[in-house]
Symmetry: C3
Subunit: 262 residues, 3 copies
Amino acid sequence: MTRTTASGPDAHDLPALAGLLLDRLRSERIRVHAITNSVAQAFTANLLLAAGGIPSLTVAPNEVPFFTQRSDALLVNLGTLDGERREAISLGIAAARDHGKPWVLDPVFVEASPSRLEFARSCLSRAPRILRCNAGEFRALAECDAGPPALQAFARSHGTVIALTGEIDWITDGARIVRIHNGHSLMAHVTAIGCAGTALIAAFSALHDNALEAAAAAVLVTGVAGDIAGADAKGPGSFQPAFLDAVFNLDTASLAAQGRVS
Amino acid sequence: MTRTTASGPDAHDLPALAGLLLDRLRSERIRVHAITNSVAQAFTANLLLAAGGIPSLTVAPNEVPFFTQRSDALLVNLGTLDGERREAISLGIAAARDHGKPWVLDPVFVEASPSRLEFARSCLSRAPRILRCNAGEFRALAECDAGPPALQAFARSHGTVIALTGEIDWITDGARIVRIHNGHSLMAHVTAIGCAGTALIAAFSALHDNALEAAAAAVLVTGVAGDIAGADAKGPGSFQPAFLDAVFNLDTASLAAQGRVS
Amino acid sequence: MTRTTASGPDAHDLPALAGLLLDRLRSERIRVHAITNSVAQAFTANLLLAAGGIPSLTVAPNEVPFFTQRSDALLVNLGTLDGERREAISLGIAAARDHGKPWVLDPVFVEASPSRLEFARSCLSRAPRILRCNAGEFRALAECDAGPPALQAFARSHGTVIALTGEIDWITDGARIVRIHNGHSLMAHVTAIGCAGTALIAAFSALHDNALEAAAAAVLVTGVAGDIAGADAKGPGSFQPAFLDAVFNLDTASLAAQGRVS
């Protein structure tokens, strides 16, 4: 974990870091306040609980500052972005900044709604530690296709780490790039897997100052758990419980054996 | 599929049509925007994803027109009918009509709330392609018990197809009636199975102009998947993942072997 | 069931009572209207359906009185306490009181939000039949640590039964105390298990006038189902369906064999 290279964490180190952060998440019962879409709330809570953390999920504006303040990190997910969520997100980000808590942005479906895109841009200007998105969401935000130079330029100009998830996951802080090749095709047939994965990124960002490594470690956990779950699942239904079981049981040895980082 | 009889699709044809529509749903990644109740959102998304489609679920009024416009069909479910959902539904139906997208109505628990019943009637006047309901909901809407003549009269007078689900499912366009005898008793012990099934009806209605056949094919898929899931499930908990797996894996051969249509 | 002692139901009687109430819940299709947090809605509905009841879950203020009136009991859960839920809860409690339906209070995370604590206190003043909470929530409400004398004093002064769940569950009406030693460690890694369990308490409170016994019987069902599910589960993912299956299949014999009451 302390050994990093200019081009990214060594492929053998990231699994060790991920295992360590998972152990600490469990022993320190890390709290994440998740302002997330109504579809993803239960699965997000269940992933955080499976990983050993403690979730809270209110979107009531008058409660969000209190829940954020007592949490270790804040997740801001822009799905089902109603008026109450907009207000809650603004107050949550303010509370996170006031109390020095990292916050992570997940601009779900930002390509589908002009007002959501505008809101995402205003969130981005408030310095999220990490931005997690897919290629379509990145294209809407950056107005160009995702690729290493575009990702690096966007990360640098916004002063954030980007974790772009897809068949291959790319994580960059503007200089280094980490590629993760784990994950299973069934993950695209289960709702909220990506949203819940961003909550794990938020949890890891509370445990490890290097945001690139924290994000990459969390993405690795999600991907390896996906591989394990996908190996036995008969479809997206049985994948879900198997995925939560895999996260619950994951250890450094499995991460080292199955993690594919470059 | 092109062969239909005056009294309904031939029992041997509906499974073939259902299999074909499922294949097209998968290959064309059909998009359904679902304005649905907060209880059913995650399961509805998971059923659409298991079937190969792409769900979106925002109920924010200022976003719904954009999401509806980019979708292939709209689901309107009247559960947990708060003020925001009422506004979202009105705007969603308007957007569907403006852009020529089919929309499907599911008047959940309409018998329990006078204001919901009134709202359902105003929705019905805006020409849903298909109305999916159970016997209690039909009784509230039609002010008479469900039975073939009552269903046909209601379908004719409202210019819609009715899919009445229950132990036997009845689907009628006012002239023809299709009866489906599939489905498992455990389905009544899992929340949102019916609501999610209506989302599949919406997806099929985007693929097939004959609304009677589209609705019947979707109901057949849900019923056969229920039979398959119920055969192995130990209760309603294990039924849920088994049901999603069954939808994911369903093909024309299984539909033909297990579909019971009359 | 009719035999009770001054110090609590006999350890051999509570399983019999629990089995009897579960049978009646199934045969009488008990209805519970649940005003609960958005994270717990689906699992709460699924637990009630697995137990044989009929859930409804709208939080729309103009609908809640109608749904409460036609239900056998009302659940009031203070999670994700937005403005609409506050209004719905006030109207729901009023409707429950007007129509003589028992209502049960679950003050989720009341220790985290000053405005929620204040609202919980106002709910408590409106005579819930049963208060279900954990140690942290009790501490916030009672301003002292949970323990038998504190629980009894609080129950007496508020005229309610308290079901304090934790590693050991304590249920008291201010005089008698029942302790239940069932339950599995995986329950702490699944969201909404406690919230859903309170819905079962509400259902039982509609079937049995003695609120202490109704609450203890429901907590016993949840705990024994947890033991059964935990015995086979590989983690919190597979625990969830196994738990619902266990509730669905539970009978007096299993409750008698596995219930640990003192």
